[in-house]
């Protein structure tokens, strides 16, 4: 085993839990979170030599995790839009009939409707607010670390979290009022 592989193994062992949990908070699904975490570490392995020690290694890894998770959510949104467009023009999408992992009660967050509602509401938030809010809810991330991941200041993070909470509250309130 090469020294690069050895150090990579140690790095994975150290950060895998945090990376999987970070991805999980964004996608609400274990399988997707694990796949994303794999992509994150592959990216880390690929660009480890290009890593400049301007930031902490952990910050850099979590930044990749956040970017990959946001990309995944964007892809899902696009896919949804495309399949609804297909439905409008009358093309049947066979993949739409297959239950997504979120539909599987065993895999879903708490196996209830609330998780889906929360995810939908989170999906409407701007990326920066969503990221700051979700990371602030995760154990192990201080505001300083979130600021480093988002390449911003602590006060900006506090403001983002505050706005995210307010927006989320308003959206959920409007949703439950309609029911």
């Amino acid at each position: 085993m090469t020294s690069k592989e050895e150090s990579f193994r140690n790095l994975v062992a150290e950060h895998q839990e945090m990376v999987i949990n970070t991805c999980y908070r964004f996608v609400f699904n274990l399988e997707d979170a694990e796949d994303l975490a794999q992509d994150v570490f592959i990216e880390v392995y690929r660009s480890l030599e290009q890593f400049r020690e301007e930031a902490k290694l952990s910050t850099w890894i979590y930044r990749i995790a956040v970017t990959k998770s946001l990309d995944h959510l964007r892809r899902l949104k696009r896919k949804k839009r495309f399949s609804s467009l297909k439905r409008i023009i009358g093309i049947e999408d066979p993949s739409a009939d297959i239950a997504s992992p979120q539909d599987n009660p065993a895999e879903a967050l708490v196996g209830n409707e609330q998780a889906t509602i929360l995810q939908e509401a989170l999906g409407t938030l701007p990326d920066s607010q969503k990221t700051a809010f979700l990371l602030s809810k995760q154990e192990g991330f201080s505001n300083q670390e979130i600021a480093d991941i988002l390449k911003t200041s602590v006060s900006a993070v506090e403001s983002l979290v505050h706005r995210a909470k307010k927006n989320l509250h308003d959206k959920l309130y409007a949703y439950y009022k309609q029911q």
Binding site: E5, F8, R9, V12, A13, Q16, E17, I20, N21, Y24, R25, L30, A33, E34, A37, Q38, F41, I42, Y45, R46, L109, V110, Q114, A115, I117, L118, A121, L134, K137, E139, K165, L168, H169, L172, Y173, Y176, K177
Partner: protein, 134 residues
């Protein structure tokens, strides 16, 4: 007042639902990592970066060769373009000279010099007159 009294419990109910939904994130327990996660990851690393992969050294070498070939092609195209433009400039100067010479020769056949032709005709006429004279 009565309406407010009726509306308030409804609003409180909505607030409670919102709070409960938002609490889901706080209640999320950290996930335990699957034992096979690292095994699968290392297999993927081996597959993508191992000696038989597209990311291996030979691939990098090939990429370098391709880049080199591309730059060489660019240089050749540049030199070719430069040679062509120089040749065109030369052609333009030679054609300029020939045009100037043509103009010079044209000058003698212009209207200004038409006199000589007429006078020539005149002398021949006078010549005929002279011959006609006794």
């Amino acid at each position: 007042m009565k309406q407010e009294f009726i509306m308030k419990p409804h609003n409180d109910n909505i607030e409670a639902q919102v709070a409960k939904t938002m609490e889901l994130l706080d209640e999320m327990k950290p996930l335990k990592v699957n034992h096979f996660f690292r095994v699968r990851l290392m297999q993927r690393v081996e597959k993508e970066f191992g000696p038989d992969s597209k990311h291996s050294d030979s691939f990098a070498e090939n990429r370098f060769t391709l880049r080199l070939a591309f730059f060489t092609l660019l240089i050749i195209i540049n030199i070719g373009a430069a040679v062509l433009s120089v040749q065109q400039n030369n052609r333009r100067t030679t054609s300029g000279i020939s045009e100037m010479l043509d103009k010079l020769s044209d000058d003698y056949t212009g209207h200004e010099f038409a006199y000589y032709d007429k006078s020539a005709a005149y002398t021949s006429d006078t010549g005929s007159h002279e011959t006609q004279a006794p």
